[in-house]
Amino acid sequence: MGELSRPTLEVVDLKIRFGGILALDEVSLRIDPGEVVAIIGPNGAGKTTLFNAVCGFVRPDSGRINYRGEPLLGTAPHRLARLGIARTLQGLGLWPGLTVQENVVAGSRVRPGLLPSLLALPSSDRIEAELASKAHEILDRLGIAGHTRAYPGTLPYGVQKRVIIARALMAEPSLLLLDEPVSGLSAQDIDELAALIKQLRARMCVAVVEHHLDFVMAISDRVIVLNLGRVIASGTPKEIRDDPQVATAYLGEDVKSPEASSDA
């Protein structure tokens, strides 16, 4: 059927302009099933904008985005979860007014309908119970099952970052977009997340935007380098490490200002 050769995500000649800034300039890339792809580049390179375009938060001036062969542009953001796309936001993006458990459960694609909820029908109780146990399973796998009843604001940053990933996993996505998942994390947390992503790849494609290069090199099959809205290089982690153009555009700068983009 060609199912396997069809890219999970295909971006073609994407162009996005914000006033005078050309945030993305003729960007083309593809992510194939089972791949872990890292997208790197200096601050303001357009990495988050690329994710925003995929998720329908910004409308490109030109270009195409296909997901499993179907055009994605014009799809409302809230429909992506149903299609199998999950994304975490740069920074946090948890809901402080919901407990950890509720934060994760709300990530599910399945949820009781309005009427069953309003009338508290047994069916809604049953679905809620299933969701709660699934959320618990995921939290357990991420090693934070002890925090289910806490509110995110009371927890260490590292735990909160895991909750965000747990929420994305709750949707059982086929494409997972992570925007700076390890910024602000300890070395040990970073290693654990790298191990997790390696496990996930059997079940989903992962695209990671990240500044932490050791992490990027450890997890990715392929690295795409953006600079000033353009793809300047693409290849295996080793190829990227050895690419002189990347070194001047990005790596050199990164050495001078390590972790320049950690979140406020």
């Binding site: 998720c55 938060f57 409302a76 953001p77 809230h78 429909r79 992506l80 979860a81 149903r82 999950a86 994304r87 936001l89 993006g93 948890l94 809901w95 402080p96 007014g97 919901l98 407990t99 509720e102 459960v105 709300a106 990530g107 694609r109 949820r111 009781p112 309005l114 909820s117 309003l118 009338l119 508290a120 029908l121 047994p122 809604s124 109780d125 809620e128 009843r149 806490a150 509110y151 009371t154 929420r167 949707a171």
Partner: protein, 362 residues
């Protein structure tokens, strides 16, 4: 003993059973209470129930979904006028029909305003709903032949059914109606809030982008919150029509909307119990302060304004002492008690006060 325990468990475990049990408990308490007190207190408790319905709806919208509305007084007016139009010229309709008609009409109008509100944020939303608050009473004044102008519409009271006896006080009958309406409202809202809709309301309030990425339709969720909230306001309006016996524009000024906001802030934003506390404050504190003022023999220029001044002071002090409202303070005390005297079920989080949560069972 074990059998009883497990049967009780089976009854209470499902949300429906738990909320129904709570409703029956509240009904019994209110029934007993209302037959112990006089007509005047029944009359005041009816007002509490009416305000509680409207405030609970507003709390869902503002406290849980983050949409501020200055127009809930006007939505109550829509419910009140729906009821009054049905009941004018001594028409008799069953109470339940009148109340449902008010819920329906306000809910439908709520859909329209909900769509507009979903596009607006913060001060723009406040401005738009303020327009509603100002415009609705104007409509009633302008179309005098339908709405009776400034003097309003008289409402035929609902008389107690015969089986309650000939001398059953009508105040108590109306109190029962209001209690029943309030309990049903609270149970339905509690059902909503503890499930997926409640999570969606809060998720949209806390972070819209993250909510959308989790598959929550942000606009639809905001419209839903507005509609449910409007329906509550409509129900409260219809009850208010019965309570006052006359529906006139002067009863639905901006002050009414502000009172409802006061109720949810004082009671506790985002909790159903908070709406009840706030309504108790709204009804009984002014009565208390005017009672105090009338007992002192003061010149009328002072005596007339003193109650309001004291009321204002009480509200200010309440906000200083309990910034998260009465419900927030109660939870803090409860959490403190648990921490102090052990008995922490399931390793409760120390220092975590979930004043944000609906707590129908408290």
């Amino acid at each position: 003993m074990v059998a009883v325990q497990s049967r009780l468990d089976r009854l209470v475990r499902p949300t429906f059973g738990r909320h129904l049990l709570f409703a029956l408990g509240a009904a019994v308490v209110l029934l007993l209470l209302s037959s112990q007190i006089g007509a005047y207190d029944d009359y005041n408790l009816t007002a509490v129930a009416i305000f509680a319905v409207a405030a609970a709806g507003l709390n869902l919208l503002t406290g849980l979904n983050g949409q501020l509305s200055l127009g809930h007084g006007a939505l109550m007016a829509i419910g009140a006028y729906t009821a009054s139009l049905l009941l004018k010229d001594h028409h008799q309709f069953p109470v339940i029909v009148v109340l449902l008609a008010a819920v329906l009409s306000t809910g439908v109008i709520g859909i329209g305003f909900g769509y507009a509100a979903a596009r607006l944020r913060g001060p723009y939303l406040a401005g738009a709903t303020l327009t509603l608050a100002v415009a609705i009473p104007q409509v009633a004044t302008r179309y005098k032949s339908i709405f009776g102008g400034e003097s309003g519409l008289t409402v035929a009271p609902s008389s107690p059914p015969d089986w309650l006896g000939a001398d059953f006080p009508p105040e108590r009958w109306l109190a029962w109606i209001a209690f029943a309406a309030a309990i049903v409202t609270m149970v339905l809202l509690a059902n909503l809030l503890r499930g997926a809709p409640g999570r969606a309301f809060k998720a949209v309030r806390d972070n819209e982008a993250a909510a959308a990425l989790a598959g929550i339709n942000v606009a639809r969720t905001q419209v839903l919150a507005f509609v449910v909230s409007a329906a509550c306001a409509g129900l409260a309006g219809a009850l208010l029509a019965y309570w006052t016996g006359v529906t006139a524009p002067a009863g639905f000024t901006l002050a009414l909307s502000l009172q409802l906001i006061t109720a949810i802030v004082i009671g506790g934003l985002g909790s159903l119990a908070g709406a009840v506390w706030g309504s108790l404050v709204l009804v009984f504190v002014p009565l208390l302060t005017s009672g105090m003022a009338s007992r002192l023999s003061l010149p009328s220029s002072v005596a007339d304004n003193l109650p309001l001044a004291i009321y204002g002071c009480i509200l200010v002090i309440a906000m200083l002492v309990a910034p998260h409202g009465i419900q927030g303070a109660l939870r803090r005390i409860l959490a403190y008690g648990r921490a102090r005297w052990g008995n922490t079920p399931g390793g409760g989080q120390k220092g975590v006060v979930d004043w944000d949560d609906p707590a129908p069972d408290t």
